[in-house]
Amino acid sequence: MAWGDDEERRYGGEEEEDELDENDYKTQKDAVLFAIDVSASMLQPPPSSDDKKSDKDSAVVAALKCAHQFMQQRIIAQPKDMMGILLFGTEKSKFRDDTGSRSGSGYPHCYLFTELDVPGAEDVKKLRDLVEEGEDADEVLVPSKEPVLMSNVLFCANQIFTTNAANFGSRRLFIITDNENPHGNDKQAKSSAAVRAKDLYDLGVTIELFPVSRAKKPFDLSKFYDDIVYRSSVEEGDNPEGVKTSRSGDGLTLLNSLISNINSKQTPKRSYFSRMPFELAPGLTITVKGYMPLHQQKPARTCYVWLGGEQAQLAQSETTKVDSEARTVEKSEIKKAYKFGGEYIYFTPEEAKSLKELDTKVLRIIGFKPLANIPMWASVKKSTFIFPSEDGYVGSTRVFSALWQKLLTSKKVGIAWYVARKNANPVMVAVIPSGSLNDEDEDSTAPYLPAGLWLYPLPFADDIRSVEIKTSTKPADELTDKMREIIQNLQLPKATYNPLKYPNPALQWHYKILQAMALEEDVPDALDDLTVPKYRQIDKRVGAYMAEWKQELADKAKEFMQLRATKRELEEDDAEERPRLAKRPKTAAGSASSGGQMSNAELKAAWENDTLKKLTVAVLKDILTSKGISTTGKKVDLLERLEQWIEEHA
């Protein structure tokens, strides 16, 4: 049995690099339970308005829409993580029908709308029908006449997490409500709720409050929720801005406001490494934690499905290692060896370990350089974000902060030797600051990323490809000037590339189709691909400039072509006098230039004069190779391909 292949734990090899907090016995999964308050005020539709930007949704519908979007994002980005929806304050009550130790009546006015689980197609559909179509056949969205006990809601959530998300690394309860004081002056009810909240805290469940406020009135936490919500220590800073109230206004609908608040909590903060010693100099070490805010998302891989039962079922695979005679191999027998010259070269495990272990886990500054000294092409891999923590050295945060400020003001970077964890390969990194010192302009370069330091991997000499290409063109100043105007007129919005505006079309399409198939709906036939440039706008804004520029380019190119041709002729005249070069193969077309060296103009001329077919196969292949076109096939094929190319390009 292959117990080593534990799929539950997201261990990453060198290539996968999934997050992993050492010494954490919990599986690195996240479970989020939405608890949405279904009260009369939450259900009240917004005042009608002609303004297109005004609210259309009641707070409950906005919250459910938010949950719907959250669910779909989760399926794409965190396919192993769970989510559930608990409505509270409902007239109806529903908990689990068959499992669990309590019957539905245990939690009056709590309605478990979506069981906490990895979301499935039916969950998406049920939720969408409710929010988009307003199909509420079960009359779920009816507020109860008597108030719900918050202690019941919290204990209900407790039970859902205990049974469905046991041993999860991250468990979060999102409470969405507009009621700052659900129990008025009822001390008993208040303290029961506080006790249940403490239970959740001890269970490791984080409560995130998303207050909703219709009017400009602030949501007063001190009335009730200050006893419910816990805040991690200042250093952790999961809630740097405190609790954010969602409201409509300032051109933002309640829905958008809520979405933006909830989206910032989409992914639980998982550290990539912790307690990393950051050596600034000998005798000066602070501790940092590492995070991966950038991670390339790819569509999930295919799986195997068993269709023999009533429902299609995922087949779980187990791997066994076997030798050449198909005998199962025990773990203790397995050795690692390197192929070399047709044989295996073997090192003992101790030797292999010592070979890999060039250094312990460390981030060590070897000095500083101006940011400008990092070559613009020096990029190989995404960067890792680091943030100080006080758990190894008290005072780490202030030293880190001072370093961050200094690097920002002097536009400098640290150069460091970095070993991400025991046995990881060492790499050189540039330590680059993000963010801004000025409160007024929130970092203009990457507002969607946190302020701190980044470990930017530098290429090694081994990673650099030598591309020897000679370009000798002298730019034409008029062309450059005109092009500059075009460039200045086509700046991206806010003069920045904001990745959040560019969803990956491959991912979007994959899950759109998959969703349609899973819900047995019609498959859409097109995708609104936001990465496609706004062609019409480009034409409208700079079309005239571009047309002008093209004309000028054509003229200049002609001059240049002639210049080149003359020069070549001169060289050829020269060459013919030299006997050493006389052996050069003459082309059948009569031109002395060998195929790969024929300019586009010459090719075009040869095509127009119908002399291409006089070229030999060798010369043709030469030309085709130089254009990056296939050289397979007979002479007719080659000619056809070349003619087609000339037609399109020359």
Binding site: E241, T267, Q297, Y346, K356, L358, W377, P505, M546
Partner: protein
Amino acid sequence: MADKESTVYVVDLGESMADCHNGRVESDLDFGMRYVWDKISDTVATSRKTWTIGFVGFNTDETENELADKDKLEGYDNISVLQPIGPMSMTELRELRSKVQPSRSYGADPVSAAVVALKMLEKYNPKHKIKRRVILVTNGESNIDDEELDHIAAVFNEFKVELIVIGIDFDDADYGFKEEDKSTNKKNNEKALQQLVEKCNDGVFGTMQQAVDELSIPRIKPVRPFKAYDGPLTLGDPDKYPSAISFHVERYYKTKRASAPSASTVVVSNNNGFSQSQTYKDEDGDSEMGGAEFSGVKQMRTYKVNDPDAPGGKRDVDFEELAKGYQYGRTVVPFGESDLSITKYSTKKSFTIIGFVPFDSYNPFINMGETGLIVPQKMNEEAELGLSAFIHALYEADSYAVARYVQKDEAAVQILLLKPNTGLEDEFECLYDVPLPFAEDIRSYQFPPLDKVLTVSGRVLKEHRLLPNDDLKDAVSDFVDAMDLSKYDVDEDGKPVDYAPVDEVYNPIIHRMNQAIRARAVDPDLPIGQPAEILLRYSKPPKKLLEKAKHEIGNLIDAAELKKVPEKAKGRFGKKDAVKPLSGLDIDSLLGGQPKRAAISSENAIPEFKQMLAAAEDDETIEKAVKQMGEIVRKLIKDSFADVFYSRAAENLGVMREELLGFEMPMLYNKLLRALKKSLLSGELDGDRREMWYKHIVGGGLGLITKEELDVSDVTEEEAKAVSTWFFHSE
């Protein structure tokens, strides 16, 4: 083609080569062969049939070469072809190793041996089309007939063969090596060899010390440029708008991550006579090494589905019964093999500009990977002029372009940032490109600000223990400036040069592994050596720089006032600060107001256990709580259908482990775990519960608490390991 090459090594095996000279503890032969073996193993590593090697020994006891044997020429005695030219694998390497031994002979002419090599090369490949060279290694004690040198050099030149002479303790003024008290004899021979090399068009003359020293400098495998894209780069849509601009460009890779050699998983098929320091054949498991061999390991997959009727709740299914599919959340969507592609977003090869952004809106840390390089199509005047103007215009407008890139039809869409390189530094114009992230690639993590502290009540503090004061800021600033690498090193002319530039820093793991593998291949009995200095050179700040910045470092250490957190800060009873909600309400006092919990309930076990421990005032209470939790865990496992309650049981164990670590009472946990294992083994928890043990307890890091982890534990690492291992014979 330059890709093929033949090299013949000509090595002095005379009796004087067995001696040690100039304070070395290894013989001249071993010293010289360090270089030769390294070169040969480099060739073996490539496994290329077109890189061939031959080996000629001179001053051998035997005479074995065509010129003496067949042509009966004089002056070719004591020269032996130890390996004819051919591809080199481990078999040949091993054979050659057994033959390279110092002899008891002397008196052969090294130049005659070189001529034997020349003949071999000429015979092996008479067409001159491949790169051919002779590498001669000697200590210069063998006499040379210097009358024929002109003639022999002419043959080398005619055959276009390179001659490399590397002498042991030869003088080299450039490298700064000079042997004192050199014999006149050696002086003359050295001179003759130098003359010969100088007469050759393609010749190198050097001293072995330099060759051996340079072995530690990593050699980088050259990779041919790969053209990733050849087609138009457009601004606007040429199909729809006549105004659209299009350049024909070519895109190559500028950086590509090189990876270290990866190990294969193998087993020793047969345990007889297996010795760990030997290498073995892998051809279909046949061995020439007598008895032991390695063979590759394959993965075999089996598939299971849930089946409530099957024992353990799961049963095996045949691979043939399975269809392919995708997961949409927990829903599986089966697809026929032919339908799988419909979820693939169909794309057409294209490269088109989305818009422009100013230089200062970009930060390198948003790069997602490797760099590309874009140049105009060759001999295409419009593309050359157009792209050149584009590059210069970007540069003048302080702008980068953002482009949508599809490498070929049906390839994934990428967003690239195009950066202008006007050729000021590297003498050629191009665009460099780096991939940018999509919306889905960004995870929004929240962090507190670094330059202020927000209190719970919402106040903003600018002075706080987490924030640097002015002294610290100044100290850091001075330190950073003092540790500047860009000006600290100077070149020969005294001009400052950048320290540790990208192209001088080698990947330490790749070269460490390669060097170790080569060394082991040549001599399996040698222990692995230390990593070469050059590989670790950049792992620490340069000494000189530290010396220079000593004052600033000292100041910074003083200003930082760092305090190391002691290993175990947690104490026993009541020392922990009670956790409080935002309001600061003391929940424990609310709890305290209730009658004391007599028993821990299974459904709310973790909070109740923690609260019971927090309120505990004596060991007895803790023991009682642990005992109850133990029962809850056993019941969960016992009641578990298949694995449904395993995670819950594991979570309860984990909480207990953590808390008992904090209370420094590891014995309680260890006792409980040993008892649990016994129960799991005996089957008293209803059936086969091995998965609980391996996957959740051992795999989840919930094993015994060892002495290493906590001083007061009496369990050793070995003991914990032994307990973790399941006894398979009990099946």
